[in-house]
Symmetry: D2
Subunit: 118 residues, 4 copies
């Protein structure tokens, strides 16, 4: 089984053992996902871009950030499991699209604001 | 290489070819991550919990949701890559913690509001 | 002066006295705004819609929610002040648009998913 | 009536005329609020802090940002109305707390990361 598959199975069991499945509607999980993404923001909001690039040098900040990023991962994997979405396949499909849309020839070194990944 | 490792490598190359690395600070990627999580919310915000559980039955809504969830995945994987965080290891560490904190004995069937995953 | 104008002036002074203006770029304030909106989500994410409608009956939850909603207000007012946006005028302009776009004749009682305000 | 009170009344009527009140649970409105805060992020995510400080000089970007900030305002005012929260009073109460917590003597010119408003 893939590493994300294993994570999904572990969370499925976690929710099942506690009878928490009824809380895990797509709607609720999307809220939890966005809430945790907000926690990631909170860790970085007052830093300059340069400070943000060095944030993992600070052990305490690194630990907090690792925890918040983990929370986003957990809710994303659980949401995808509940919706029946294959995260990795969906991500590659999105990148295929971006490859076609943002051609290297046209976008390399471009000064214009560009949505870098999708 | 793991499936997330491959995705990270593909995005690293995607950004490199377009000279977009300077846009990909942790600060900017966290904003993009939260923005995409907001797009997931927008797909589900007016649905009842029950409707949200059936959202993938509607082909058009399913396609949009798959795309938004993919965008979250892409920015999460890219952010973790830039920060040097192993997403899967961090997620399992968080679940280990949750296993200790929310014991089955104490939380099963509990009516009290509980943070299901972390 | 209007009530929002007074709030903006108070925050301007608050930031000035602490020499925190350099932190208050539109970029940083937008992150803080979204982070606080995420805190509001966290208060409501495991509640059913019906429970959410009664959330203010619980004194403790009400206090937390009031605090989070206040934080969103503070960062929104500060962001608008820094950007030179008149919040109330901008909101009315958006509602004028919605009045034209979502006519009562066409949308009343409509079962279709609809973006209620804008 | 105050300017926010008028805005709340206008939105109450807007929702009532379209029979959209059932969509406006605190849960749904919190999702809409966070979704719109995500749209604000999207406008600023690839800008440097300096570029973000000049974003209103670009007429097109200014128009989009004004629209997104207006959407946040609308959902915030509507959420507060539905919850029975007085936004301005709650915001001043939060600032009273911040005044006590972040004293000028201790925080002025402080290099340490600080949550500027609340």
């Amino acid at each position: 089984m893939s590493e994300l598959g294993e994570l999904a199975v572990r969370m499925r069991r976690f929710a099942h053992e506690r009878e928490w499945e009824r809380f895990h509607t797509p709607k609720n999980l999307a809220m939890a996902l966005a809430g945790e993404a907000g926690e990631v923001l909170a860790e970085l909001q007052w830093l300059t871009p340069e400070e943000s690039a060095r944030v993992m040098d600070d052990e305490e900040a690194a630990g907090r950030l690792r925890g918040e990023v983990a929370d986003v991962t957990l809710y994303l994997v659980r949401l995808a499991d509940v919706l029946g979405i294959d995260l990795v396949a969906a991500a590659h499909a999105k990148l295929d699209e971006s490859d076609r849309r943002y051609t290297v020839a046209e976008y390399r070194g471009s000064a214009r604001k560009a949505p870098p990944l999708s």
